[in-house]
Each structure stands twice: as structure tokens, then as C-alpha cells.
């Protein structure tokens, strides 16, 4: 039981990060490997707000959401927009994204340095008992917010006019622009949303662990989660994150903690071979 609870709380954070990958993949059909770096910047923004301005948790999350959202839009405008207009293959976009990620990480190294930072303690170190297993207050809160945010995003995409335009864009971008939708604006909105989720994930990761330039590294796991669920699918990202979190915890507990990543990445390779669309993904040829 404890394993399951721990696994779900680890998975909640994976889901939150996987959503960013899925959103962007759904509309531009490429894996935005700069997402990890945006999460890292989101964490630094949150950290600055919490330690310099002494804001409370709600405001810190809000500030980080807006900040990371803007960074994400900016990233798209500078690095991807030109490629997109030239109708470059999605492989080019992906390589550009990797470049952005290395650029952003090293910019932080050069300006802020490689020091580790910790958030001030927003939660009392209190243990909640849940069906006989213990869970920290923070984990419970992070899990609730993650699932809530993903649900809200789902509502936004299915119920609002902008959401419908995004879904139309997912189906056929050219047709969508012929119907009078401003696709540049649409893509900016999608990147803002992905950035917003990166902001939330960054703050939670920072509180849970530490803030440092290569913290975006964990997004490799989120990427696997997105692949499990099917890249481009929101419910898939949620389910994929939770499944990966639980499976990893089971492997570490009952087999060996050292084998955990061997297992996760084997799963990634196996899925790409036998089930490239994941659990809930749509049919596509390219998955990178």
C-alpha cells in the first residue's frame, strides 16, 4: 500500500510535466526537449519570489506560471517560429529544442551558478496517514493540484472557443488557418499553457527536491510518461505519469532501486517499437 501511495505521488509530478510535452506534440508534432529547461526556469522564478519577496505559496505558483508561460512563448517565437513558417521537418524543430535546452541551462550556470537552493518550508513537516501508509502534506497537495490542473486544462480544451480552435489545429493546421483562425496566436496560446504547467511543475519539484541548473533532467521521465500515455493525449499524459510512478516504485521496492532506470528506459524503447501510439495516442507516423 505504501508503495502504491508513494508511486502515485511520484507519478503526479511526472504527469504534470508530461502534459507540457503532450500539448506541444499534439499541435506541432515534435517533442519539445526544451520543456525541462522551462521547468527549471519556472523553479528559479518561484524561488526568487519566495525568498526575495517573501510571497506565499499561492502567489509564488501564480508568478511562476505567468513567468514560465512567457518564457515558453518567447522560446517558440525565437527558436521555432521561423522554422515553422519555412515548413521545416519536425526533426529540425526537435534539434532546435535540444539546443535551447542546453543554451538555457548554461545561461543559468553562467549567471546564477551551480549552487543548490531549497525553497523555504511552506508546509509543516506533517505526515498524513492514508489507508495505513504515510504521505507528506506537500505530496498530497501537489497531487491534488496536479490532477486538478490537468482536469481544468481538459475542460478548457473541450468547452471553450479557443479550446475548440486548438483541437481544430491539432487535426489540420492548414484547414484551421483557412477557416480564419490566427494560427500564430493559437500556437502562442498552446506554448503559454505548456509553460504554465512547467511553472507549476517547477515550483513543486523545487519544493519537493532542490533548485539547480540541471534539475530539468527529470523531464526525461516525464517524456517516457507521455509516450506511455500516447504523445499528444492529455488523459494519456495523466495516466502515463501515474503508471510510470507506480511501476518505478514497485521495481525499486521489490527488485532493486539500482535497476529502476534500466527498467524505465527499456520500457521506453519497447513502447516505441511495439506500441508507438501509447495507450491513448492517435495514429501518427513520427514520434520523436
Amino acid at each position: 500500500m505504501q508503495t502504491l501511495v508513494t508511486g502515485l505521488s511520484v507519478g503526479g509530478i511526472y504527469s504534470l510535466m508530461a502534459v507540457g510535452y503532450s500539448l506541444i506534440f499534439s499541435i506541432l508534432s515534435f517533442s519539445n526537449f526544451a520543456h525541462g529547461a522551462v521547468i527549471m526556469l519556472g523553479a528559479y522564478i518561484g524561488l526568487a519570489l519566495a525568498t526575495r519577496l517573501h510571497w506565499g505559496l499561492g502567489l509564488v505558483v501564480a508568478g511562476s506560471v505567468v513567468g514560465a508561460g512567457i518564457i515558453s512563448v518567447f522560446n517558440e517565437r525565437v527558436a521555432y517560429a521561423a522554422l515553422r513558417r519555412r515548413r521545416a521537418p519536425s526533426l529540425f524543430l526537435m534539434i532546435s529544442a535540444m539546443g535551447c535546452s542546453v543554451f538555457l541551462e548554461n545561461t543559468v550556470y553562467a549567471t546564477i551558478g551551480s549552487r543548490f537552493f531549497a525553497f523555504p518550508e511552506f508546509f509543516r513537516r506533517e505526515v498524513v496517514s492514508l489507508w495505513g501508509s504515510s504521505l507528506s502534506l506537500l505530496d498530497l497537495f501537489a497531487f491534488t493540484v496536479s490532477v486538478g490542473a490537468i482536469f481544468a486544462l481538459h475542460l478548457f480544451i473541450t468547452k471553450t472557443k479557443t479550446g475548440i480552435a486548438i483541437r481544430a489545429g491539432v487535426n489540420d493546421m492548414t484547414m484551421c488557418s483557412l477557416m480564419g483562425v490566427n494560427t500564430d496566436r493559437l500556437i502562442s496560446i498552446v506554448f503559454f499553457l505548456a509553460g504554465a504547467f512547467a511553472g507549476v511543475a517547477g515550483v513543486f519539484l523545487g519544493i519537493k527536491y532542490l533548485v539547480y541548473p540541471t534539475m530539468g533532467w527529470v523531464t526525461n521521465k516525464a517524456y517516457i510518461a507521455a509516450v506511455i500515455g500516447g504523445l499528444g493525449s492529455l488523459p494519456g499524459a495523466l495516466a502515463g505519469g501515474l503508471i510510470l510512478g507506480v511501476l518505478e516504485t514497485l521495481v525499486s521496492t521489490y527488485l532493486s532501486s539500482v535497476l529502476r532506470d534500466v527498467f524505465s528506459f527499456t520500457m521506453l524503447i519497447a513502447l516505441l517499437i511495439w506500441l508507438p501510439n501509447g495507450l491513448m495516442g492517435r495514429e501518427t507516423e513520427e514520434k520523436i
Partner: protein, 382 residues
């Protein structure tokens, strides 16, 4: 004519040698000025510069002034090898550093080939001064600090005797020599004292979430929880352990001794104990600490500055004893140093393994409210 030219060349060389006698003696310093260990590295560089000034004011080494050639090894094994090559090219007589066991093990063969003695500062792994394959002592590697078997034993003695612990759990980094060996030394010594290691769990370097391992450890309800990692992993493990309701006393090693342990770990590391090489409140180093504060306007980041000063004093004393700065003679004198006065106390080398015979270890307690490491106990070596 040809013979005359050769004679001229020889005469010029001889003359040049005589003129160079007043040239400075170069000592290499390989240290992490950037990267994760830069906090200690910067402080170490300060302490070495402070002592060089003093040595030069007192006449230098064998009447020649000392010049330090310093390169940043960025706490990276590959970069450490590059730095060692560069220092060998600079014709230094001896090298101070590196501070970390992995970097030191990478550096040792290069300086050995160049016949340049190296005195590492805080590298505590036994295989820094002894070749792991042949089990023979490395002729050019020395250290002024204690080694991990002693550190692991001290931690186990403290856990069993002072804390009265019967059951211990261990969490270590499977990718680090430091953690793997310390876990073993601790386990051996703790078992020898009648205790039992109930859970021994590992994680991979760079991993941040240890809750799966900690969940397993919790089931055994250990009295003491030994975490031989750096301060970053220790802080994370402490937080996550408390979140899972593990109430065991936390016990760490000298890598914990960084001021940011308290910033990173917060409440979770309060009351934890760890083994360290030196303590700011140790009366033996009081005069050093006062001088350092006066010169640089802050506390030295222990233990590296102390150990680097010890290393420099060892080089100076060995050169005096040998009456020479040639590599082989200097190395022999270093191996036979006896009862010399160093910054951390008194030092005698063990010629069989190039480790000091009587280096003490201190136990410190983490006090989060005071934001300090409080001196608890001192264990004498030997």
C-alpha cells in the same frame, strides 16, 4: 671547434643553473575553483596563499621563494587529469590536491610518472595512496587527512557506544566509491560492536527521490540511519525520511560538512550527527581561524583550508629534511616525516601506506536554530 662549442654550451648551462638558484620554487595546486565543490576550493586557495606569504617572509623553501601555480580542476576527473599534465609541464616540485578521492585516483598515475609528489587534501578513500590492483603504496601520493576505514569506524563507534543503537539502516550512492566503501566500513565496525545493519539500500547518482528505498527502510524501524553522501543527497534523504515517518537518528560523514546542509535540509536535518575532519571550535586550530577571519573577513569553509595548509607544511618540511627539491628525494622525505607541527596539530607519516598515523576525527551535531555545527566529541586516531 665543435668541441669548443660544446664546452661553451655546457658553461652557459652551468651558469644558468647557478643563476636559477634564486628563482622561485614552484608548487602546483589543483583545486575546484568552480563547480559543486567551489565553496571549499575558494577557501582552500585563500588558506594556501595566506601560508605562502608567511613561508616566504620566513625565507622560503631552501632559501628560495615559493610560487604557487594554481589550476581549476572543476571537481571533474577528466579535467583533473588535464591539470596534472599541465602542472607536470610547469616543472612544479610537488602538487597540493585534489580534494576528492575520485579526482585524486585519476591524478596519481600521471604525477607518479613525472616523479612529482602529490599531497591530496581531503581525499579519504584508501586507494588514493595505495594502488588497488597491486595493493602496493603509490610512491608519490600522500595525504594529511584520515581515511575512510577510520571514519566509518568512528561513525559506528559513536552509533553503538554513545547513541546506544542496535539496529542501523544505510542509504548510499551506488555510483560513488566514497559511499560504497564507507557503507562497508561502517557495517563491519557496527557489526563488530554487536549491532546489526537491518537495511542497506542504494540509489543511482543524480537521483533525487529515495522514497521507494526509504519505504523499505521504514519497515525495519532502525535506531540510527547512516547516510554517507554529499550534503545535497543527505538533505533530500533526510526530508523524505521524515516525511515517511522515519524517526531514526541521522548519521553522516565528512562530505556533509557544508554550510548549506542546513539551508537545504531545514528542520529535517536538525539533531543529526556527522563525522568531520576539523571543527571551527577545536582549540588546536584557533589561531588559524582568527588569522583567516582577519585576512578574508569570513569563516574558512572547513576542512579543506586546514588540510591544504598541512600539505604545504609537509612539502616545506620534507624539502628541509631532504635538503633537495628533486622528486624522488622529496618523496622519500615525505614518507618519513615525523612529529612535525602542522596547522591541524602534529603529524607523523606511516611510510607503509602514506597516511598520517594520528589524525583525529570530530563528531559534530547539526543545530538548525543556531545555523551551526556543534562540536560533540573528538576521536583520536591510531
Amino acid at each position: 671547434m665543435k668541441r669548443f662549442l660544446i664546452f661553451c654550451a655546457a658553461a652557459v648551462l652551468a651558469f644558468a643553473n647557478a643563476a636559477f638558484a634564486a628563482e622561485p620554487v614552484r608548487i602546483g595546486h589543483t583545486v575546484s575553483l568552480t563547480g559543486g565543490a567551489s565553496m571549499w576550493g575558494q577557501s582552500e586557495a585563500n588558506a594556501v596563499d595566506m601560508l605562502v606569504k608567511k613561508i616566504n617572509a620566513e625565507g622560503g623553501i631552501l632559501g628560495r621563494p615559493v610560487e604557487v601555480i594554481r589550476y581549476d580542476n572543476r571537481n571533474d576527473a577528466v579535467e583533473s587529469v588535464n591539470v596534472a599534465r599541465r602542472l607536470a609541464g610547469d616543472k612544479v616540485i610537488a602538487v597540493i590536491g585534489p580534494a576528492q578521492s575520485g579526482n585524486s585516483i585519476a591524478t596519481a598515475p600521471i604525477l607518479e610518472r613525472a616523479e612529482i609528489p602529490m599531497i591530496v587534501t581531503t581525499a579519504t578513500n584508501p586507494y588514493v595512496t595505495v594502488d588497488q590492483k597491486t595493493e602496493k603504496v603509490r610512491p608519490y601520493a600522500f595525504r594529511p587527512c584520515f581515511i575512510d576505514p577510520f571514519q566509518g569506524t568512528v561513525a559506528a563507534r559513536f552509533a553503538a557506544d554513545r547513541l546506544g543503537a542496535k539496529k542501523a539502516a544505510i542509504l548510499y550512492d551506488v555510483g560513488s566509491d566514497y559511499g560504497q566503501w564507507l557503507s562497508k566500513y561502517f557495517e563491519d565496525a557496527f557489526t563488530a560492536r554487536g549491532g546489526k545493519v537491518v537495511a542497506k539500500e542504494a540509489f543511482r547518482s543524480e537521483e533525487l527521490d529515495y522514497r521507494a528505498q526509504l519505504g523499505k527502510i521504514r519497515e525495519f524501524a532502525p535506531d540510527v540511519f547512516f547516510i554517507p553522501t554529499s550534503q545535497k543527497e543527505a538533505a533530500l534523504a533526510a526530508k523524505q525520511a521524515r516525511d515517511l515517518g522515519i524517526s531514526a537518528v541521522l548519521l553522516g560523514t565528512d562530505n556533509w560538512g557544508s554550510p548549506d546542509l542546513i539551508d537545504l535540509g531545514g528542520e529535517a536535518v536538525d539533531g543529526a550527527y556527522f563525522v568531520n575532519l576539523a571543527d571551527l571550535d577545536d582549540p588546536d586550530i584557533r589561531s588559524f581561524v582568527t588569522e583567516y577571519r582577519k585576512t578574508f573577513g569570513g569563516d574558512p569553509v572547513l576542512p579543506n583550508p586546514i588540510m591544504a595548509q598541512d600539505a604545504l607544511i609537509m612539502i616545506a618540511e620534507a624539502a628541509k629534511a631532504a635538503g633537495s627539491i628533486e622528486g624522488p628525494k622529496l618523496a622519500e622525505a615525505l614518507a618519513n616525516l615525523k612529529d612535525i607541527r602542522v596547522t591541524s596539530g602534529v603529524l607523523t607519516m606511516d611510510p607503509s601506506n602514506h597516511n598520517p598515523l594520528d589524525k583525529p576525527a570530530v563528531i559534530q551535531k547539526v543545530d538548525v536554530k543556531k545555523k551551526a555545527f556543534v562540536f560533540v566529541e573528538k576521536y583520536q586516531g591510531r
